[in-house]
Symmetry: C2
Subunit: 194 residues, 2 copies
């Protein structure tokens, strides 16, 4: 049952960290949510920071794996890649939020490992952006790097306002953001009313 318990610890920690913030969450509180004592919690995890590192790495691992699969499968991967990124981020919401907001609380090697994974992922996306520019499907008046970072801004922070029970499904939001990013929010002049 170790595996089950470890998973439960990680899920609960992700929810707690997202709701209260990493520094404001205590191991006592986490133990209480799990229905065990703090000393017992340390039987399952090495330290508080180890939990945070695991959450960061796992969220990046999942989004990287999924997006890489889309890139390898699709001929024109940009739009499906955008949609997949968003669907994964919304599915692993608490974990993803913790990675975005709290990875700065890691220190030393833990921090270095997470920063490296994040950089790898950014470069994966940037590679797609640059390729689409070369093939003339994406505008080239700006560098691939700021275009990539803008896209990731647009996507990543959606988890903080999206409401699963609202009018739009996750797939709806994914389509909308892909369309806004690629096609723009403005109506083309030719399509405007007189």
């Amino acid at each position: 049952m170790t595996e089950r318990t470890a998973d439960r610890v990680m899920d609960t920690a992700a929810e707690l960290f997202r709701r209260k913030g990493y520094a404001e969450s205590s191991m006592r509180e986490l133990a209480e949510l799990l229905g065990i004592r703090k000393a017992t919690l340390y039987h399952h995890v090495q330290s508080k920071e180890a939990i945070l590192e695991w959450l960061c790495i796992e969220s990046l691992r999942r989004v990287t794996a999924d997006v890489r699969e889309v890139i390898e499968r699709e001929d024109e991967p940009l739009r499906p890649m955008i949609e997949r990124h968003l669907l994964v981020a919304l599915a692993d919401r608490d974990m993803h939020a913790t990675m975005l907001l709290e990875s700065g609380s890691l220190s030393g090697e833990r921090r270095a490992r997470v920063v490296a994974l994040r950089r790898d992922y950014e470069l994966l996306v940037e590679g797609v952006i640059a390729a689409e520019q070369r093939e003339g499907r994406l505008r080239s008046d700006y560098e691939a790097r700021p275009l990539t970072l803008s896209l990731l801004n647009l996507l990543n922070w959606t988890i903080f306002w999206y409401e699963p029970q609202g009018a739009m499904s996750a797939a709806d939001v994914a389509r909308m953001l892909a369309s806004v990013y690629l096609d723009g929010a403005a109506l083309p002049v030719s399509a405007r009313p007189g």
Copy 2:
């Protein structure tokens, strides 16, 4: 000199909170950065949370005032509004980052006040978006609300990767983001190479 000192406290606190996070920053550390003792610091501010509230309110006050002025002056305010928002956010970087990341650490009435200001600002932007939709300059296949939140995502989180000493000036980034949001990142099919 009280005014000078209070300003210095707020500037220093904003930089510290952005660099280390609110919960991870201590009043001892802030006092040390200011070259005074902790007890003296409490002569100038009421509490740690009061500092955070002031930073949040002030950053929202500035961006709201500036953007409102643009809206009242311009006939087609959307593009200049986007650019102004970004310039203000980049100018008050530490304060703005603290507001975005740490306002959740406020409690009770302080939190309520900041949340209300944030909501006011969102509604101000949403009003512009909705107006542009009615006038046919903005696509209407999505609601004004998610279009607004997407735009704010795209803009707000830029402060975390923009490098002032880099190749692009703040005005360059502002123009780029306005163009990506309005015109899209894709090349129109008609403009693509054969």
